[in-house]
């Protein structure tokens, strides 16, 4: 089961430039939370803070607290954080020189799983969960780059799921995909939310409306409004949210 995340007074900087201002957010477990907002509003920085990737930037700085369940992320080793809070990026990024099987197995091996039987089982389970198993089971030794863009993205989701995280962060996971592949990713998100907590950044309003339970609107580094998705898309409270989702800016 996924865990909840609690964000309090989160601030983030790149050098002198502050990109996030006092963000408070409760991310519910086993729910899909969508982050929307115009380019440069801080939404990608925000989810990069949720698995401490933001700090890998040389001039980046973070202040405030983020808790996964009862634990502060800042009390944990960043490598452990990234195992329990996985990330899928906009562009599918399978390891190009590795086979389909090894793309999944590598994370498991790094986590200390060596027995080939267990590795096979875990790879199969991850591929099944990502709804990719039936399409690749006969060519697991083929290079991952032989897959279509949509399949590569599901492979990346399988790779993230293989290490059994609590939370899955997705940064515009379908923006580079065709409509059918996008639909498969959305169906997949709907299925895996039973097991994981999902936070998704998207520029696609309809996608947020379709898949998210909660939606948060960011603007100029501030969290303007967060509510049930149906509420946000029918009756937003803040005029800036209304103007953004109705296409008046951004």
């Amino acid at each position: 089961m996924g865990k909840s995340m609690t964000v309090r007074r989160l601030q983030a900087w790149y050098g002198q430039h502050q990109v996030l201002h006092n963000i408070d957010m409760d991310i519910e477990e086993n729910r899909v939370t969508a982050i929307i907002g115009p380019s440069g509003c801080g939404k990608s920085t925000f989810i990069r803070c949720l698995n401490r990737m933001h700090e890998t930037h040389p001039q980046a700085r973070v202040d405030g607290d983020i808790r996964l369940g009862d634990e502060s992320l800042f009390d944990l080793d960043p490598v452990d954080v990234r195992r329990v809070v996985g990330m899928v990026f906009q562009k599918p990024n399978p390891f190009p020189t590795m086979s389909i099987f090894d793309n999944i197995a590598i994370g498991l091996k790094l986590a200390g799983i060596r027995r080939s039987g267990e590795l096979r089982d875990r790879v199969e389970r991850a591929l099944r969960m990502a709804a990719l198993w039936d399409e690749v089971k006969d060519r697991l030794a083929k290079p991952a780059t032989a897959l279509s863009g949509g399949q590569q993205q599901r492979l990346c989701i399988a790779r993230a799921l293989a290490v059994e995280p609590e939370v899955l962060l997705m940064d515009e996971p379908a923006s580079a995909l065709d409509p059918i592949s996008t639909m498969r990713i959305e169906e997949l998100i709907e299925e895996i939310k039973q097991t994981y907590t999902i936070v998704i950044v998207t520029h696609n309003m309809q996608q947020a409306a379709r898949i998210a339970d909660k939606t948060a609107f960011f603007y100029q580094g501030h969290l303007i409004e967060m509510d049930d998705t149906s509420q946000m898309f029918t009756k937003p409270k803040d005029k800036r949210t209304e103007d953004y989702i109705t296409g008046r800016f951004g």
Partner: protein, 218 residues
């Protein structure tokens, strides 16, 4: 043209179509009432013929709303305007049908006109006409207060209707009018009362557009 500008123009077009339809429906109701009060068969016939045009306007507005939903995928205030627009068109179309019912009843009454009871309808018809004006104004001016006032106006129309029915049937078998004439006048009262109810629906749609909240004005 920027997509948002094109969408804004389409939303204005929707508003204009609804206002045009609202004006036509109000005129039909006025003519239908006048045909009852003045025993004017030609006017009643015109109301009946004109209903086809009102139905066409309803379909045109529905088509526009469906096209906007399909192509613009509206949300928030835009979505509320479009969904409420469809509901407004349905209420106006039903009001047009009630004007036709009035006109048909007027034709049946004109075979043996009754003066006094028909005159009892006049005050009620004026109150309903004010309601229609107020409902359309509330929509044009996005006026929540005007929309809420419709509830009181509707209460007054309901009261008038009860009085009308009580008076019509208080005289008993010795009344000047036949039972059928009294029944037809009561029907006319009922149609006007129903028009008032549809105007409160218009008020509810206006409030939904403005606040996103559901309300009950009737």
């Amino acid at each position: 043209m920027h997509q948002r500008q094109a969408f804004d123009i389409a939303l204005k077009e929707l508003k204009l179509k609804l206002l045009h339809m609202g004006g036509d429906v109000q005129e039909s109701i006025r003519h239908a009432v006048a045909s009852v009060l003045r025993h004017d068969q030609a006017l009643a016939q015109r109301v009946i013929e004109r209903d086809r045009e009102i139905n066409r306007q309803d379909h045109e507005i529905e088509d526009l709303c469906i096209r906007l939903i399909a192509t613009q995928q509206p949300v928030a205030g835009d979505l509320r305007r479009i969904v409420a627009g469809m509901r407004l068109a349905v209420d106006l179309e039903r009001m047009g049908d009630l004007a036709v019912d009035l006109a048909k009843t007027s034709l049946r009454l004109s075979a043996s006109p009754v003066e006094e009871p028909a005159r009892r309808l006049q005050g009620m018809a004026e109150a309903v006409d004010s309601m229609v004006s107020e409902g359309l104004n509330a929509y044009v001016n996005s006026d929540a207060e005007a929309a809420r006032r419709l509830a009181e106006m509707d209460d007054a129309v309901d009261h008038d209707y009860r009085l009308l029915v009580e008076e019509l049937f208080a005289d008993g078998p010795d009344a000047a009018e036949t039972p059928q004439q009294r029944m037809l006048i009561a029907f006319c009262g009922r149609y006007l009362e129903r028009i008032g109810d549809h105007v409160t629906n218009i008020g509810e749609s206006v409030l939904y557009i403005l606040t996103g909240e559901r309300s009950d004005l009737n």
